[in-house]
Amino acid sequence: MRPLNLMWLLTTVLTLPALADTDHPTLTVVTWGGAYERSQHEAYFESFTEKTGIEVETVRFNGGLDALKEAYAKGNHSWDVIDMIKANADTACEQGLLRELDPSILAPAPDGTPASEDFIKGAIGRCAVTQLVFSTVIAYDDRAFPGVKPRRVEDFFDTQRFPGRRALRRAPVGLFEWALMSQGVPRSQLYDLLSTERGLDLAFNQLDKLRGQLTWWTGGNEPARLLAEGKVAMASGYNGRFFDAQVNDGAPITIIWDGQLLDYNSWAIPAQADQPQLAERFIRYATRAEPMAHQASLISYSPSRHSARERVGLHKETSTPMRPYLPTLPAHLEKAIHRDQQWYTQTFDLRWRLFERWMNRHATPD
């Protein structure tokens, strides 16, 4: 987490309790900002307030565990619900940063199917419930490649055939997998190889090839903007954000689905939250099929419930059919990397240590 963000976050956090009024309870949701948060406002927060009279405040964060750890250390009680990557939620759960979640709070599907059967496999965890499937993909600026278009992950690393700057998230997530995949490693063997020193070295060596051409991003809305403004030719980013820029802003962005890194967002309640019943009420509401399908008509993330997926139709504003843009489209799944949550959870410190070391070693004026 960048120091600047942290400061901003802390000020937000510290001023929040003053705003809370006991007569008109406020629910504080920690989430990711940008187009994604806008879709949550429309699909969940507004209708939740309408139904219950409970106002929803949001606090923005950029993922990871640092913000939650910081809040925990500061004894912050005001965060009620947090929207986390599943792997992070699992780690946080193990470290006692989250409350255990009672699965009975989850509503059955409209046709009566119990939640445990309606959610995709593994969605209901000890402390968190997965609400959507998103993916981290590589996208490119169409204008940068008027001739042959990049199609595969290896094209991201091929600056000879596809020149131009690249943008990557400043975090040890996804880039190792792509670096190995671009060297011919099949998807099924990625995490086995990345568990060896040799595999990680190979990945960093491949990243070295992009030295001097890299732009690092932290906030989810940055990559689409970097592409739209022509500052980079290719960028990693969340598929929903790219979709939003394509469809809502008409940005000339194309997604390469090859090697999309599938991941899951989960709702969880911080351990020190002082309104856990309210938080559970919100999670129960936000994991019903209708609001979930509603969100999928705003942004191209796939709901984690079968009953919600069946209700996904057209984009609300442009009437674009949403299914071809979902990461769970069978054609897209064929080339997907299923992020290994356990590997991510267990290698958290190692990944960051190696990543920072590599960043320092290659400190360039990127």
Binding site: P186, Q189, S195, T196, Q342, Q346, T347
Partner: protein
């Protein structure tokens, strides 16, 4: 009309019975092969052998280091105890046992021994020993085939066919390569291609494939991208690589044999020898963890340029050769195919890398050389060139790569056959007195005792008896030859009726008329008997017990009958249709 109907009825019965056996044995062998692999993977994960498990404990390096040394050592101890107290034959059961059971009519060791051997293999592989997983899987298939063969189905050659079915399904499942499974069962186990065996073995291989691929949706073992051989001159390099691989195969096989002899010389209880090898392996692994286990990760890295330096490859090839010989020789239970694959691919990668720096021509990349080396070495060690070529084809579905690997494999086998014979398996069988080099008929003739064809009906006479008495005895018994015994009944020679007619009646037969050769013992094989009879004009040959007393005799006619019977059985089996 009636007999035609019966004929068709019996054929349909045979076909249904054998198909049922093929599907059942195939399915069970395939499921067990999947279970075997899963059990090993589970142990590797739990015991911190796999890199995936090791990295998860990365924050506790002392734990990982302790596991690196202790797991193979204790694993070895468990294997030693299992073999000592669980197995009655006290040795690992492997493909040579399958070959022996199919090629001759010798019974397989007991079911219990087979299960103990399989468990010991799971523990060995699970604790990271440098041994292979396919040998034990082949034996597992053999075990179920032999079980099915115990059913009284009235089908000829059921044992050989059922064992081949089990083996082909196990290999088809393990490699996700049904054609390779089918060919392996013929090339290594059956060693002939009769339609009667071919059809059910194909069914079993397909069953294994369906279970692995359709039901369990296992991924192919080895996926690799290869654009094709870009230059024709590279085929010369492939051939040369093959010849070098033959040298490597010689080193590999000799090392394994030497390690076995060394282990026999070490004055330690057999029970703790595997633990000793495990300790040595663990200590090497502290420095080079790649030597542990099957080395899936290294197999892949060997195909990626830049993953290894040339020095690292050379070192790893050497270390892996040594630890594999040590593990196999000192009693870990497991095969040699997986280590051969790994050593071969590392060597192939080294060859490709070196060629790129030495040869002033453009080459089409590391992959072809790495895969060629892998398959060449492995094919020479197990004696299965056709199978390995097909494995490449089925795993990579890449025609160009298959052609390249084919050249390497064939040249390797041409040379290695001269140096080490057909395979390590055949050498191991030869050490057990079963030599397949001159063909199966000869091996069988050599493995069967002529004593089994002997008659106990012999005309015996004391060496001190008079010629007249012996003649009278022979006339009474209507024989032309008598066996003479000396003090305490020891054999001293034979005398023919024609000779007796020329001798004075009242005197014993003079010593110069005793015919000593030939005489057989219980150890004399049918093959030896046939050779000994060259130029023989007598009636029959005496068979002596261990002390040299005659216990029976075998006539020339019986030897010929034995030979014809065996050869006829073989011809019938190897040309059978349905």
């Amino acid at each position: 009309m009636h007999s035609t109907a019966r004929h068709w009825l019996s054929i349909s019965y045979r076909i249904s019975a054998i198909s049922l056996v093929a599907v059942t044995v195939g399915a069970v062998a395939s499921l067990c092969a999947i279970g075997f692999v899963e059990a090993v993977a589970w142990l590797n994960h739990r015991l911190l052998v796999s890199p995936y498990a090791r990295i998860q404990w990365g924050e506790r390096p002392e734990l990982v280091l302790a596991a690196t040394v202790l797991v193979p050592t204790l694993g070895g101890l468990v294997v030693g105890l299992l073999m000592r107290y669980g197995s009655s034959v006290r040795r690992a059961l492997a493909p040579p046992d399958a070959i022996l059971a199919v090629q001759t009519d010798q019974p397989l060791p007991s079911l219990r021994d087979g299960i103990v051997s399989t468990l010991a293999a799971i523990v060995s592989l699970g604790s990271g020993a440098s041994v292979g997983q396919y040998g034990p899987m082949v034996y597992l298939g053999t075990l179920f085939g032999a079980l099915a063969a115990k059913l009284k189905l009235g089908v000829k050659d059921l044992k050989a066919i059922a064992i081949a079915c089990g083996v082909s399904a196990a290999i088809a499942t393990a490699f996700n390569a049904p054609i390779a499974g089918l060919v392996f069962a013929h090339e290594v186990i059956l060693r002939h291609y009769s339609l009667r065996a071919f059809a059910p073995v194909t069914v079993a291989a397909a069953t294994g494939y369906v279970l692995a691929n359709v039901v369990f949706e296992l991924e192919p073992l080895f996926l690799v991208d290869f654009a094709g051989v870009s230059h024709s001159y590279e085929f010369l390099l492939f051939a040369f690589e093959g010849m070098l691989c033959a040298l490597l195969a010689w080193v590999f096989i000799r090392l394994i044999e030497k390690a076995g002899k060394l282990a026999a010389l070490v004055r330690l209880p057999q029970t703790i020898k595997p633990a000793g090898a495990g300790l040595a392996l663990g200590l090497v692994a502290l420095w080079m963890p790649e030597v542990l286990g099957i080395g899936q990760e290294s197999l892949r890295f060997a195909t990626i340029p830049g993953a290894f330096g040339a020095g690292e490859l050379g070192l790893l090839v050497t270390l892996k050769l040594l630890v594999t010989a040590l593990c196999v020789g000192f009693g870990f239970v497991g095969g040699v195919f997986s280590p051969a694959l790994l050593i071969g691919i590392l060597f192939g990668s080294l060859f490709g890398m070196t060629a790129q720096t030495i040869v002033p021509l453009e080459l089409s990349g590391l992959v072809a050389y790495a895969i060629g080396g892998m398959m060449a070495l492995a094919s020479a060690v197990i004696g299965a060139p056709l199978t390995t070529i097909l494995i490449v084809f089925e795993l990579t579905r890449n025609y160009d790569l298959t052609i390249a690997a084919m050249v390497t494999v064939v040249f390797c086998n041409l040379v290695s056959y001269r140096m080490v014979g057909r395979s390590l398996f055949d050498r191991q069988l030869r050490a057990r007195g079963f030599d397949l080099r001159q063909g199966r008929d000869r091996a069988i003739l050599q493995s069967l005792a002529i004593a089994d064809y002997a008659s106990t009906d012999v005309t015996r006479a004391d060496a001190t008896d008079t010629a007249g008495a012996i003649r009278t005895l022979l006339v009474e018994q209507q024989r032309a030859e008598a066996v003479l015994t000396g003090a305490q009944g020891y054999f001293v020679g034979c005398v023919r009726l024609q000779t007796l007619l020329t001798l004075p009646d009242a005197e014993p037969v003079p010593r110069k008329h005793w015919r000593i050769d030939p005489a057989f013992t219980h150890a004399t094989s049918v093959w030896d008997a046939m050779n000994a009879l060259e130029g023989f004009v007598g009636e029959s040959v005496p068979i002596l017990d261990d002390d040299g007393r005659p216990v029976g005799s075998v006539s020339e006619e019986a030897v010929i009958r034995a030979y014809l019977g065996i050869v006829d059985d073989l011809r019938r089996e190897e040309n059978a249709t349905a």
